[in-house]
Subunit: 328 residues, 2 copies
């Protein structure tokens, strides 16, 4: 391969070849700029896939580039974490936290699983509604919202900053143990200070619409073809889902795994985001083992967009094989 950086500074003069040849721009001034300006935004983040009679649409909400320090993983050193990031061609000490909401059209219902950050978590996230529009769906068309847990990046999309409902016609379903934990004042008053804001945020979102919020017991079918799965540890009522239609299934892992290069490769690592570290590890291993053993299609809220793929067992952990982009 004839290829080295010095070629950049060398304008090759062509000689001896048949046919008319010229160097581009030779003999004339280059225009001052290209015919189109540089774009200021990423392309629309809308990925669709068929699941039996369902249609599943992954909707990008953006990425939070979170600075992390050596306390981020309770049982791994900063050097180990940075090595895992480098293995994924990511810079050290920064965790890319991607957000991808999942729209499920069951044919009977339009169901949104988790709601994005509504721009209230990071400046570089909050584009889910733009991508919903790019997918041709209005917020008013959403019939049902399923919530995995009450962290802000999953529930903030329910309301605008001014407190208005974003999805006026949607029935909101939340895990019962999640509601019981976060809406309990005694739990809030006993919580460490950094966690109190999550209690307050849950009240901001849910307090004035409490009577309209439906609660389900994790493990139950929330509707035909959508089963809820208890996956406790990340939060007390953290819930995953499984979609089934025809002979196809998808495991919606919610926050059981999060960044694949850290926590699928190293399922035993316990990040500070997991309220109960050991219980989270148990839920994570069970979920990943099932996904890999059954070769299930998975969706995972914090995987890189489109946040869908398969998990492959490798050594003591797992790796993500992303889905391929396909015509429908």
């Amino acid at each position: 391969m004839v290829f080295n950086p010095t070629m950049l500074t060398r304008r090759t003069v062509l000689t001896g070849s048949a046919g008319a040849m010229a160097t581009l721009g030779a003999g004339g001034a280059l225009p001052a700029s290209a015919s189109a300006p540089l774009a200021t935004r990423q392309g629309p983040g809308v990925y669709r896939t068929k699941l039996g009679g369902f249609q599943v649409t992954a909707l990008d909400d953006g990425v939070w580039l979170l600075p992390i320090d050596d306390t981020f993983v309770r049982n791994a050193s900063a050097a180990e974490v940075d090595r895992a990031l480098r293995g994924a061609f990511l810079p050290p000490r920064i965790l890319p936290v991607t957000f991808t909401a999942l729209l499920v059209n069951t044919g009977a219902k339009l169901v949104l699983i988790d709601t994005g950050t509504a721009g209230q978590v990071a400046d570089t996230a909050g584009v889910m509604l733009d991508n919903l529009a790019a997918a041709g769906v209005t917020p008013a068309a959403i019939d049902t919202i399923l919530i995995s847990h009450f962290h802000p990046d999953h529930i903030d999309g329910i309301k605008t900053k001014d407190g208005d409902k974003v999805f006026p016609n949607a029935e909101i379903w939340v895990p019962e143990p999640e509601w019981a934990y976060w809406m309990n004042d005694a739990n809030m008053s006993g919580a460490p200070k950094p966690v109190v804001k999550y209690f307050l945020n849950a009240r901001r979102i849910f307090a004035d619409i409490a009577k309209d919020v439906r609660r389900f017991k994790p493990g139950m079918d929330v509707m035909p073809g959508i089963t809820s799965i208890p996956a406790y540890g990340h939060t007390p009522g953290h819930t995953a889902f499984a979609l089934h239609s025809g002979n196809q299934s998808m495991l919606v892992m919610s926050d059981t795994v999060r960044n694949p290069y850290l926590f699928a490769r190293h399922p035993d690592w316990q990040p500070i985001f997991d309220m109960d570290g050991p219980l989270s590890v148990k839920s994570r291993r069970r979920m990943l083992d099932r996904a890999a053993a059954d070769r299930m299609l998975v969706a995972s809220y914090h995987f890189p967009f489109p946040a869908c793929g398969h998990m492959v067992r490798r050594g003591t952990g797992y790796e993500l094989m992303p889905v391929e982009w396909r015509p429908l």
Copy 2:
């Protein structure tokens, strides 16, 4: 994890939990259909990334699902090929051939590297112009077209089926040895029958615009920041490119590798698409070694969209680590 298929057929009755709970749709008829119909098309395939002062946009043209038989790889059995496909969660005996054109905005020029199939290769491909439009760029805005080689899926986008130029203002640059080979009548008359159509197609595209087609010698800089790289074997003049801007680089591998799960994992495999199998292996190994050793960002025409990522050495082959979708 409480999760088994029998849950699908069981409508859980909720008891004993605090708060109002209900099963969705209980007591009322489900609507006949969701508020939005199933979409009929994949989301726009437009992925942008910054490369120094350049902006690179990957444009999806679709996927050809090509049935393959046991002659597809000259030196691997059908069972070996199917095992590699299964490892990527792909069905046996079908090769997904993705097409992704690359738009490079250098700030001075809008450069399109290869032009897609124009719907003339498979019914499930030919959406590149739609995605160019989704990216906010008109065909008339393209200043330069760079061609890697003369296979139809790379050059067909230059013209409509009726023979009109699709990019009226673009200067077209092609590798000199590619032109010399395919436009030579003696080569055509000596070619095996299945290859003759490629000669004829090259004439359909280029014959009446020959005087306007610029030819470059692979190895030369085709413009500031874009170097061409000879990568012969797939075709006699098959060419890759390297983009350089600021301190960032991208290796545009063209058809040196193609499907990553087959030919990056098994660089020595010789598919029938490679006209000179052993020379192709040499070019492929050199390209992959360089990409992995220098941790270069790569683009590869037949990788899954967005067809950009990094190559990681693994055992006797390489694996693809796709880029992450990021806000700009």
